[in-house]
Amino acid sequence: MNLPEELRTLFATARQGAPQQAWHTLFKAGDWLLFGVLLAASIAAYPLLWKGGVADRAIVRRDGQVVIELALDAPRQVSVAGALGPTVIEITPGRARILADPGPRQICVQQGWLTHANAIAICAPSHITLQLAGKQGNYDSLNY
């Protein structure tokens, strides 16, 4: 094969018993340092850039109008006046649910905890919705 001369010499030398060298001796001190820094940065990049689905607040709306915005950092219960009576919303760190609602079929109550950004529970008879929001959601809307 007509290799460039440099490479031909190189391969020839490498074949004919250039001194065998363990690969780790080819690392110098600064190489290890830089490798470690870049390894740490690469690992850190995963949680930093892939946390889009994390919710940080809950938004309660009545007839599409925002009634109250709740941070998802501390446990609390909030009662909101709906069309049929009070709807109770429960917050614990990182999630929220409808604890009680006067609606006849209890669909939004049985939906349980909402944990992802843009997840939504709709209490149609009460005209109340509970939606989580994050910095950047994975989905426009989530329902089950």
Binding site: E5, E6, A14, Q21, F27, G30, D31, L34, L38, S42
Partner: protein, 188 residues
């Protein structure tokens, strides 16, 4: 009798220097690796071993940054011509990566050789490569922050392939710091 035009001296003579021959040889090797690599399946566009960078780094260590610049850019242009990618988006991404990595090497080559070897140069070049590509992709091809979701994957690939390529370069350079026929001069 009039003189035949074929006997006249050429209007413009381009002398071919040893530098040209050397750069052409290294570029040929880098282009061959670019073509070979294009045949490898890739799980994600842009995640490639970057084998041609082995040649670029070897040229940098042996003959200096100017030669590395020539080889690095020639292999992007000629490689894309051979693959039919010239002036396609992939060409500009490759060019952005190559320019960013050569610019990084311009500064990185001043790192003390005692502490920082070929692996450091290769890692810095690999990360600069993905950096240049993702910045161009963000500005031009995908004007949305969504491209940065790919960054962790690209960074992991750069870490792995940068290290392996760097070890190959370190080994080749240890075996043969400079081919005998170039040892006189040409050190920039």
């Amino acid at each position: 009798m009039t003189r035949s035009t074929t006997e006249s001296r050429p209007l413009l003579a381009l002398p071919i220097t040893d530098d040209d021959r050397r750069i052409a040889r290294y570029s040929a090797a880098a282009i061959a690796l670019t073509i070979a690599e294009a045949a490898l399946p890739s799980p994600l566009p842009g995640v490639k071993p970057g084998l041609a960078n082995i040649i670029v780094l070897l040229v940098l260590l042996r003959h200096g940054w100017r030669d590395a610049l020539w080889v690095g850019l020639l292999r992007v242009v000629a490689g894309s011509l051979l693959l039919g990618q010239f002036l396609a988006p992939g060409f500009f991404l490759a060019l952005a990566g190559a320019v960013a990595s050569l610019a990084t090497l311009f500064f990185a080559r001043h790192l003390p050789r005692r502490w920082f070897g070929a692996v450091s140069l290769s890692l810095l070049a690999a990360f600069a490569h993905i950096g240049g590509q993702i910045v161009l992709a963000r500005l031009w091809l995908v004007p949305h922050d969504g491209v940065f979701y790919l960054l962790p994957v690209f960074a992991t690939a750069a870490l792995i392939f940068g290290t392996i390529n760097g070890l190959v370069v370190a080994r080749l350079f240890a075996v043969s710091p400079a081919p005998s026929f170039y040892q006189a001069g040409n050190e920039s």
